[in-house]
Every structure is written in C-alpha cells, then in structure tokens.
Amino acid sequence: MTDIAAFDETQQRGLTKRKLWMSVLLHGLLIGGSFIMLYPLLWMLSASFRPEEEIFSSTSLIPSSISFDAYPRGWFGLQESFGTFFWNSFVISILCVIGNLMACSLAAYAFARLNFWGRNFWFAIMLGTLMLPYHVTLVPQYVLFLNLGWVGTFLPLVVPKYLAVDAFFIFLMVQFFRGIPRELTEAAMMDGCSAWRIYWKVMLPLSLPVLATAAIFTFIWTWDDFFGPLIYLTDMRDYTVQLGLRSFVDSTGLSDWSGLFAMSILSLVPVFFFFLFFQRLLIEGIATTGLKR
C-alpha cells in the first residue's frame, strides 16, 4: 500500500496544468457516468415512495406525494417477514462463496499448472458445461435432487458449488493462475514443495484479486438468482429475497408495486456493501505487494 501512495504523491507533485484539466475532465465524465448508472436506483427509490397509481403512468422522478408506508408494509406484508428472507439469502450466498472459492481454485490450479493425462480433454469438457442452456437440464436435475431427498432444502443450491460445477469460475481462475510468474512456483518446487503446498502457499496468496472477484460474483449472482430457489424451495420459511420480491407481483391480478420497489431497494444494500468490502481486496493484489519480477 505504501508503495503506491508514494507513487501517487510524486505523480501529483508533478501535475502540470494540462494534467489538472485532464483530471477535471475525468471526474466530470465519471460523475456524469455515475448519474446514468444511478438513475435506475433513484427511479426505484422514488417509485417506493410514490402512490401506486403513479408508478406506471408518470415519467417524472419526483413523486407527487411521499409516503414511507411501503417499507413496513413490504417488510411485514408476506407470511414471513423479509428478515427471514434476508437471512436465508445471506446463508445461501455465503455458503456458495466458500464452496466456489475452494472447489474452483483447486480445479483451476490443476488445469493451469499441473500436467496430467487428458488435461486438454477435461478442460474442453469443463468449458462445454458452460454452453448448455439450463432450461433443458432443469427437469432431469430436479429428478436427481428429488431422489437425493434434497428438494425443499438449501442443498440443491449450495452443494453443487462445493463440487465446482461453476465452470465460469474455474476458467476465470485458470486465466489468472497462468499469469502468475512461473519462476515463483518453480523455485518452490526446487525447494521440494508438494503441489498442495505450492497451491496453498504460493498460488492462493498471489491470487487475491481473482479470488476477490470470484467471491463478489458468487455472492451477487447467488443473491440475485431466483430460478434455482423458485424450483427447489417450497416452504415460504425457506424463501430467498428474490422469491420474496416476486411474491409481491402477479401480472394477472392485484400487485403491491411500491412494496416490491421498497424491498428491492433494501435487497441491494447487502450486495452493495459486500461489493464495497471485497473490492478492497482487488486493490491489494500482486501489483502492490511489492513483488518484483
């Protein structure tokens, strides 16, 4: 961390007028961009405060009148409170993060750095699992989990992550592992380190950025997933936030739209902070640990 701070300081001292203008321009662009990025959030916020009958017909961001009712109504309005849904989503997401980090990094290390018979073949098969649309494997998979007695529990959502079924993350980690200088692992090998020790003591510590990336994505994607929970969770006490949100709305009948938007806003809070926290790890990667080639 200190390296980069020092680097920035020297840079800043050398700022010419032109560079100052560049900086202003950059900030201007970023703030303008931020508004485009934030707009939907602002809109949802305003939708959660405004009268129901305005949500679909008004294009203005400013509600004609403001009411906070949708928040308590949304939180307590279903059979179970949103507290339950948040807890369920949180547990599932955290378990998935742990599973994905462990299982995918093991597989990725094998593909990236170990030689074994059939490596390219298995790598191709692994990528192939990314390519089949899930709609057609849904029913056989459901039957499989039903026979295991897992339907109605969190297991179908969590256990696969411990078995590295997310080829996306294996492939991602392979690409990053291959970027770690080979001299490092070879030096460790010369010292008689086992493959396991190299993985654990060399690869993982040097791969913080990609591990943080995988953690962020797993958490967010699990949090946002609704199709898996829709199919496998039956009891409302087991529902996730996304299933709870979808319970507000029925396109053929009466829906609680402002309740939906109020809870949607709240559902973003945990993922947003998870992101803020883990993106720090992105920064503390190889480039700033003082590693020299």
């Binding site: 829709l230 009948g253 829906s255």
Partner: protein
C-alpha cells in the same frame, strides 16, 4: 412427496451446521396425519385469504395438514411443470382455463367425478360452471369463480370529452366513433381513444362467436376461416386509420399484463382484460375504472361473451390422498366462513348459496364484478368447445401476426392467410 422427516435426517447428516440452523426450528408435526400440498399463483392479497381459509380448515379438521405454496403467474407454470415432470406435483393445483386442457389430456390431473357428491359438494353449481371444468366428459377442475372478458374504461377520460359510458347496445362502429372523439379532443398527452385489440385472442374469439362461429370445433380444428381473420384485421386497420385506437408502436408496449395495459400506461381510455382484474386495474389508476362488455358487430347481435371459470382447483393424478384433497376443495367453495374470507378475489363464486350469502357484504369493485357478469344478458352465449393442444401457441401467434399487419409487413388479406396456414400447422403438430 418427500416427508419432512427424511429431509431433516439428511440435513442433519449431510449439511453444514450453519445451513441446518438457517432452515429454522424443527417443523415436525407428530402423530398420524394427512399432509396435502396446495399450490396457486397470485399475489399477496390472494395469499393472505388462501392461507386464512387453510388455517380455518385445519382447525376444523385436526389431522389434516395443508402446506401452501404460492408464486406469481409467470413463475408458476415452469415450477408446476417441473414438479409434475419430477413426479412431485402438489396435491391441489390451481389451474387456468387454458392449461387445464393441456394438463388433463396428459393425465396429470385426477378426474373428480367419483368424489361428487359425497366428498365434493357441488350442489350450488349450475351446469355451465361444471362444464367449464370438464375435459372430454370428465370433471377435472372445480371453478373458483366466474369471469368474463371485459373492456376496462377510464371513466374520467370519457367525462373530460363529455361522453357517457355507453350501455350494452354498443357496436364496433360506435366504439370507433367514441375512440376518434377522444383522440381528437386531445385532452391528454399521447392519448388515444381505445387500445388496439387485434392481437387479443379473447377479443377475436368474441368477434367470431358473434359471427356464429367459434375458435375451435369439438374435434379440435379451426372453426373460423381466413375470411373472418381478414375482416377482423380490416376492422382494426380502419380503427388505426381513423386514429380511434393507439398506433402499433404504442400498442406493442402492452404485454398482456395489467401494468402494461394501455389504460394503466395512460395511453388510451379503453383497454381489455378480464372481469376479475378490475381490482388490479383500479389499483394502478388514479381515475375511476369501469367495466363494459365487448362491442356488438351489429345492433342486436350478441352471444360473443361467455361465463368462463377464472381459475380452478384441480387434484394431481399423483396425489396419494385425492379424497382428502377433494374434501378441502369442497370446503373452499362451499363454506360460508371461507367464502367471506375469499370474497370475490378469484372471481364471482359459482355456488348460488355462497353468492347469496356474500351479496350484502361486497364492496364496490366486488359488486361491480358481480353485476357485470350478471348483466351480460344476450351478450353472453354458451361455453365454447374446449381448446385443443396447441391453442396456447396460436394465441401467441395471433399477437405476432396482428403486429405484422399493424406495422405494415402484411396486408389484412395476406396476414389472414398466413395466420390460417400457421394455425393449421400448429394444430397438426399438436
């Protein structure tokens, strides 16, 4: 069906302690009891009512445990199909008028005739209500409420232009004139008289029924021809031409949901839905919404409408306990206390006794729904023959071809021919 006990055992054995506690306190129920799973689509108000009735039933029938599952319409069908395909279907399934034929003909539902009248009391149902839930001569669905297609009218938009809500003699010509007046008055921004109904299957069905035909014959063939379709498309082409209805790129915003209806979006004073959706439409509109029947093709011609079950309860053919399920359904449609809880949220109750007991307690929208169905008079005709397999796809296809005509990729003539050809190939495929 996986029992709770085995779920717990497997959990305790296999899962991390964290997930076990997260799943919650033990929900074991002791003693011998009948467990039924009940699944329906809908939103929160329906869930509250249904859970309350279920609770009432369980209090009165100790030994029966009913687990309710509810999701929205869009999520309901893939979830149900997956459960049925996995042979884990709920015992009691809420069914829709279109899907009941698909499910019953594929033996996913149990015929209910054997339970009537001892377990399942349908004495208050008239024949039409029973027929609505019958497929190929057997009873597969118990109607939870009567329903009919309807126009949803923004009354304030009519008042602004000084037009009274028309009576039941309204014809297509008059509707077009009203539409033009509202559009031309220009009281609101980007606002037109009526929504474009050319892609809407219930509207088209109403139209062909008034011409003495139907969508399908008894043996599942098309019961109308290219001529009917062409005139239908021409009728709407004239509406668009006269600016009585919204232009095609505005109509295409409508995805056949309440929230994207032209009235809800504030683009037209009239759009189309079903009578049990009045509450939903009203909730999304500041202005008062009233219902009106579809127009007549000419003065004195009627019979386009029919009283159709808004939804059913059916019993899965995989149910271990169809009799207990039938007893619950009987309670659901007959018990006066249950009726009071359920109100007309699923449509006007079919049992005459329930209707009478409910009548004095209805609120305004509830009364409007009852009066609408009751007041159709000669506009309503008999129940049409059941839709064959593939009808759902033809419904979607009508929407697409109507858009092709509206956007000018087809003339009404070529559109009609394309529609008939494609519909026949869909029916042949089944």
């Amino acid at each position: 069906m996986v029992s709770r006990v085995s779920r717990r055992t497997i959990l305790a054995g296999g899962a991390a302690a964290l997930s076990a506690t997260a799943i919650g306190a033990p929900r074991l129920a002791f003693g011998q009891e009948t467990r039924l799973r009940l699944m329906w689509w809908g939103s929160q108000p329906r869930a509250e009512r249904t859970f309350e009735v279920t609770k009432l039933y369980m209090e009165q029938n100790p030994g029966v445990q009913i687990d309710g599952e509810t999701v929205g319409w869009d999520d309901y069908w893939p979830r149900l199909a997956t459960q049925v395909a996995g042979r884990n279907a709920p015992d009691i399934i809420q069914m829709d008028y279109r899907y009941i034929f698909e499910y019953a003909r594929r033996d996913a539902l149990a015929p209910l005739d054997e339970f009537v009248p001892d377990v399942l009391n349908l004495s208050g149902f008239d024949q039409a209500a029973l027929d609505g839930g019958s497929v190929d001569g057997a009873l597969y669905g118990i109607s939870l409420g009567a329903n009919s297609s309807a126009m949803m009218i923004n009354k304030a938009a009519f008042d602004e232009v000084g037009i009274d809500i028309p009576d039941n003699s309204l014809t297509f010509d008059e509707l077009q004139r009203i539409g033009m007046e509202i559009t031309n008055a220009g009281k609101r921004r980007n606002f037109y008289g009526i929504a474009d109904g050319s892609g809407l299957e219930p509207f088209f069905e109403n139209y062909v029924r008034q011409r003495g035909k139907a969508l399908y014959t008894e043996d599942g063939q098309l019961a109308f021809d290219a001529e009917d379709v062409r005139e239908w498309f021409e009728l709407w082409a004239a509406m668009r031409e006269a600016k009585a209805c919204v232009p095609p790129d505005v109509q295409a915003l409508d995805k056949n949901q309440i929230e994207t209806g032209m009235v809800s979006l504030g683009h037209a004073a009239v759009s189309y839905g079903h009578s049990n959706q009045l509450v939903g439409y009203q909730a999304l509109n500041k202005d008062p919404i009233v219902m009106h029947a579809y127009p007549r093709i000419a003065a004195g011609v009627g019979g386009g409408h029919y009283r159709k079950p808004s939804m059913f309860f059916s019993i899965s053919s995989q149910s271990q306990n169809p009799e207990a399920a039938a007893a619950y359904i009987s309670f659901f449609v007959n018990d006066p206390k249950a009726a009071e809880i359920l109100d007309v949220e699923r449509g006007v109750p079919e049992s005459s006794a329930v209707r009478e007991s409910l009548a004095p307690k209805l609120d305004d929208t509830g009364r409007a729904a009852v009066e609408y169905i009751g007041g159709l008079g000669d506009l309503a005709g008999p129940l049409p023959p059941p839709p064959p397999l593939g009808a759902g796809e033809i419904d979607r296809m009508l929407l697409r071809v109507s858009q092709e005509v509206a956007f000018g990729q087809h003339t009404p003539q070529s559109g009609a021919e394309a529609f008939i050809a494609e519909a026949e190939s869909i029916l042949a495929r089944g």
